[in-house]
Symmetry: C2
Subunit: 317 residues, 2 copies
């Protein structure tokens, strides 16, 4: 699966993933109004009307965003919390979003951050990677429980040609509370996790990279340099660009000499671009065009900063 | 909410939670057959027939187990992975299970092990603790992302009188890979997490205990002794009894001098008891009676080992 992601990055010349985190506050009023009208009528069992409306709005919003960016980027990353909060209709919107994105040729990274052990971990892997429930191409996984939590995912990934991104060094301000703590030998906890990600991925190689990737926040360029060296065959999913403060310059250390090795996520910086001064000319009605403009700008920004990769991508365009 | 759990433990004389992890291999053949028949007819959109059958079997199985044990124990712990794996119908079965358990007066601990940051973490908290989607009383939460992941849960818990159990030292064999690593000052990572759990919970007290609890595996009694001292006001959810190898004697260090401070989970040891030699006389048809017998035996076993608490519980019966 990692090779499919790389092919997408190369063919579109964009190491960019659009985060589909449709916070209700991002959704234009006219979509919410449409959704309210669509929800008139019978409310299915185990669904509250409020959730049916929210889920319909999320779905309409996502569809327009996807239509506006699918030819620019290789991948999307729906964030499961934003759907789960709306219960059963929310989960249906999650599934519809996944299926629609796949129909548009996009690789789907399910940002589910699941993590459990043994048969429970395998159940999560089956639910998200085995083509029978919420069928994404990659899932994000939390490593706190150790190998017992990861190995069942590796098994399912092999069986269904899928991949995972393991949380190593997350983009948020408090990620250092546990991840940066120095252990006896002078390394930080995130380095130990990175070392294990490298080991977990050794048996899942597709060419240069493994189907076991890592999440490393774009907001931590120094830590990323350490991890890039420590995990030479690990593809990095880097959240934190834009809204969380990371710039293209911060990202150069995430990439390998071949200009590959990382994919950068932006969520609200793209999907809620119309709310920013910079793209305000599009207005609420033009939210999808604003998202397209923001995605183009992000791609150009990254191409400017990641000089080595630039050659590869330009050649393909 | 922690006080409601304590009241339940005292009134039933049982610091026991039944884990509702309905692995399909635990479900008797006749229930699967019933479920197949019930699934004849139209399959709703976004549901596969296979998942509709599995979810119906899970629901029928859970209902019988709950009917058999609800008067014995104060709480149940459905494990979300076991439902999520069956997609939309699985999530409906999760919700039906939660609602049924609450209607029987049981406290419901949603074993979801979610963990994200900021508005995403708040969305998970809203989805599981705010009474509008999958409405449980406590949720389990993963601490790897630090305070940014926990604080949104604390906010929602305050607003809706709910609680969380944060993973500190998990019961599985590989939990030591990251959790036991010694940090610079000679403490282990799990102690640092325990220290933070204590801090996070300081502002959510209800009497002696906080609404912020901790998951500490019954399989690690030595670590539990350290954590019991470190987190004097933290209620412990202890998985790992029975099937994972922990005995009642291992659990004495989990409890406080008042005989409270912990609740012990057993999943397959109770719900799949009929498959064990010890309860084989009940047969497949008697799976619920076997679960009741196993729950009674577990309660007696714990009462024998936790001598201080025994007085409290006996007095209440």
């Amino acid at each position: 699966m990692i090779q499919k992601l790389i092919d997408g990055i190369l063919s579109k010349g964009a190491p960019v993933v659009v985060g589909l985190d449709p916070n209700l506050s991002f959704i234009p009023g006219f979509i919410l109004k449409n959704a309210e009208e669509a929800a008139e009528g019978e409310i299915p069992e185990y669904c509250e009307k409020e959730n049916v409306i929210a889920a319909e709005a999320v779905w309409q919003f996502n569809k327009s965003i996807v239509d506006a960016v699918y030819d620019l980027v290789p991948a999307v990353k729906p964030q499961s919390a934003m759907y789960e909060q709306f219960g059963i209709p929310g989960m249906i919107a999650y599934r519809k979003t996944i299926e629609y994105c796949r129909s548009k040729g996009l690789i789907v990274i399910g940002d589910v951050k699941r993590g459990d052990i043994g048969s429970t971990s395998e159940a999560y892997a089956r639910g998200h990677l085995a083509g029978k429930a919420f069928d994404v191409d990659f899932a994000t996984v939390n490593p706190y429980l150790g190998s017992d939590g990861i190995k069942p995912f590796l098994k399912i990934c092999k069986e269904y040609d899928k991949g995972i991104f393991v949380l190593v060094k997350t983009s948020n301000p408090s990620s250092g509370e546990f991840q940066d703590v120095l252990i006896g030998d002078g390394r930080a906890v995130f380095e130990l996790v990175g070392q294990k990600v490298r080991e977990w991925g050794a048996d899942s190689m597709e060419g240069v990279y493994s189907n076991v990737g890592a999440v490393v926040g774009a907001t931590y360029p120094e830590q990323a340099k350490i991890l890039r060296k420590l995990m030479p065959h690990t593809f990095i999913l880097a959240p934190g660009y834009g809204a969380q403060g990371a710039t293209a310059a911060d990202l150069s250390g995430f990439f390998d000499a071949d200009g590959l090795g990382a994919i950068v996520n932006s969520s609200r910086g793209i999907i809620a671009a119309y709310k920013k001064q910079e793209y305000s000319k599009y207005g609420e009605e033009g939210f999808a065009d604003a998202a397209r403009a923001a995605a183009c700008d992000m791609i150009e920004d990254l191409r400017g900063a990641i000089r080595v990769g630039r050659t590869v991508w330009r050649a393909d365009r």
